[in-house]
């Protein structure tokens, strides 16, 4: 048997489903009622994106990524998985990446999301749907199968933060910059989806659906909207 062929996905998940869902619960309990503020920030960011106020939207969500890096990954997840410290660095990096368009307008679309024509409009609509999924749909689905404290919330937990941010990136950015700002959220959704898959949690399918939709929208945006004049 070769050394690498013998590894299975479950060899990389060093905790049980019970422990992981208790982790989500404990983070929620610790930070309540910050959820209200973080959710309001997320909704405000989506509204600003719809009004083509991309710089302000990015400015709102950049600190959210730094908070999730510190609290979700460094303070909690790292107790269970040493690799979480490295993921925290990636989340800090995403916070910095989001400051780029916030402070300089880098990669932001000049035209309002609602006015995009053709396939670009489809991609942007998908972005809006993904953002709403992160803010509202995912918590509602989780509420059906878990206790209230296990529901993940934008700005407190990693999954809804990544989903909502992906949606916003699709709504706001154009050309190759979409990939630059979508890469870390996409990679996290893949890792988180695989983790939930190993833990035999049904929530995994939602992450994979969002991942597939976001990848498709990224390709659409890059292919049809990277022409000169669409970006600053």
């Amino acid at each position: 048997m070769t050394s690498y062929a013998s590894y299975q996905l479950q060899d990389f998940v060093p905790f049980s489903a019970e422990v992981y869902f208790r982790l989500l619960e404990r983070i929620s309990e610790s930070w309540w009622p910050l959820h209200v503020l973080s959710l309001a920030l997320g909704i405000a960011a989506v509204v600003l994106a719809l009004k083509n106020r991309g710089r302000l939207a990015c400015l709102l969500i950049a600190p959210v990524w730094a908070f999730v890096a510190l609290v979700f990954f460094r303070q909690h997840y790292a107790q269970l998985n040493w690799a979480a410290n490295y993921i925290a660095y990636a989340f800090f990096a995403q916070a910095i990446l989001l400051l780029l368009p916030a402070l300089t307008g880098f990669g932001l679309s000049k035209s309002a999301a609602a006015t995009m024509p053709g396939r670009g409009a489809v991609a942007i609509a998908m972005g809006g749907a993904i953002a709403v999924t992160g803010l509202i749909v995912q918590p509602l689905i989780a509420l059906m199968g878990a206790s209230g404290w296990q529901v993940q919330v934008f700005g407190i937990h990693a999954d809804p933060t990544a989903i909502t941010t992906l949606g916003l990136v699709l709504m706001l950015l154009r050309g190759w910059r979409v990939w630059l700002l979508a890469a870390i959220p996409l990679i996290w959704l893949l890792l988180s989806g695989l983790t939930l898959w190993v833990l035999q949690a049904t929530a995994a399918w939602l992450l994979f659906v969002v991942l597939a939709a976001a990848l498709s929208a990224c390709v659409l945006l890059c292919r049809f909207l990277s022409a000169a004049g669409r970006t600053r």
Binding site: M1, S3, S6, Y7, Q8, Q10, D11, V13, P14, F15, S16, E18, V19, R22, L23, R26, H76, Q79, L80, N81, W82
Partner: protein, 313 residues
Amino acid sequence: MHHCVHRLTRRHCLKLLTAAMAAGLLPAWPGFAADSMPWQKPIGNSNNTLPVIGMGTWRTFNVGSDRQLLAARTELVKAFFALGGGLIDSSPMYGSAPDVMGYALAQLGKADSLFAAEKIWSPAGGSAREQVADLQRRWNIAQFNLLQVHNLTDWREHLAVLRELKAAGKVGYIGITTSHGRRHAEVEQIMAAEDIDFVQLTYNIAQRDAEQRLLPLAAEKGIAVIANRPYNGGSLIKNLKRRGERIPGWAAEYGCNSWAEFLLKFIVSHPAVTCAIPATTQLAHLQENMRAGLNPMPAAAARQQMARFIEAL
């Protein structure tokens, strides 16, 4: 089979006697007679012995700082010792498992029967000596009984340090580990050429590669063997239960009243295997595991019958 031949010291006999008396004072555990103690096997060629059922901590003891789960795992450790358990195996790769063991031992006090086994794992960072010091602090103990090089990572360097620690009396035994049947050729070379006391490897009724060369070599060289993944990561026992398979009637002769007992007795009755380290979070499962350490045990012909039975399913 020579499994009834134990080289017990006077000190160990006294320990066993004390434990047996203590067992009489404990609440009744299902399937355990008050005077029943797990079978013990000698550690290699030494006079020391180990109960044949130990406890692994991969995934099961990585609960972070969750007070509710810390209390549950402490109860599990308490039951493990009450049922005569000895070896507990962990690794810096297992997240917070060493800290959780430290918490449990601080709550319970260090049991006389504890045989603390840890590992040196390069990706955890720091030198081997630093890792040992850190793990002793996390376990809340002064010294480990066994230190192993985890999955052969930088084994030459780490084994050299472990040998120095053993010579200085800072650890009882040293060894190497592998799992999932990986790198058996290299494990064999190390067993043949290096002076080690323990080898930890995957051996269960569905994964028996070790029977070909590693187990005979261990017996020949007097190297104690820890069998990890006794349920093949849980899949073996889950599949048997899901399919509703019934334990064959003839297995009752060897005390197999559950699949856990069937699968574990197969492993620990191999003459070269010193102990198996099943991991669990459930008290009921722990009790099943520990019952597998009680006599009677299957002899060679019965072991073959057990293997054939599983192959035929």
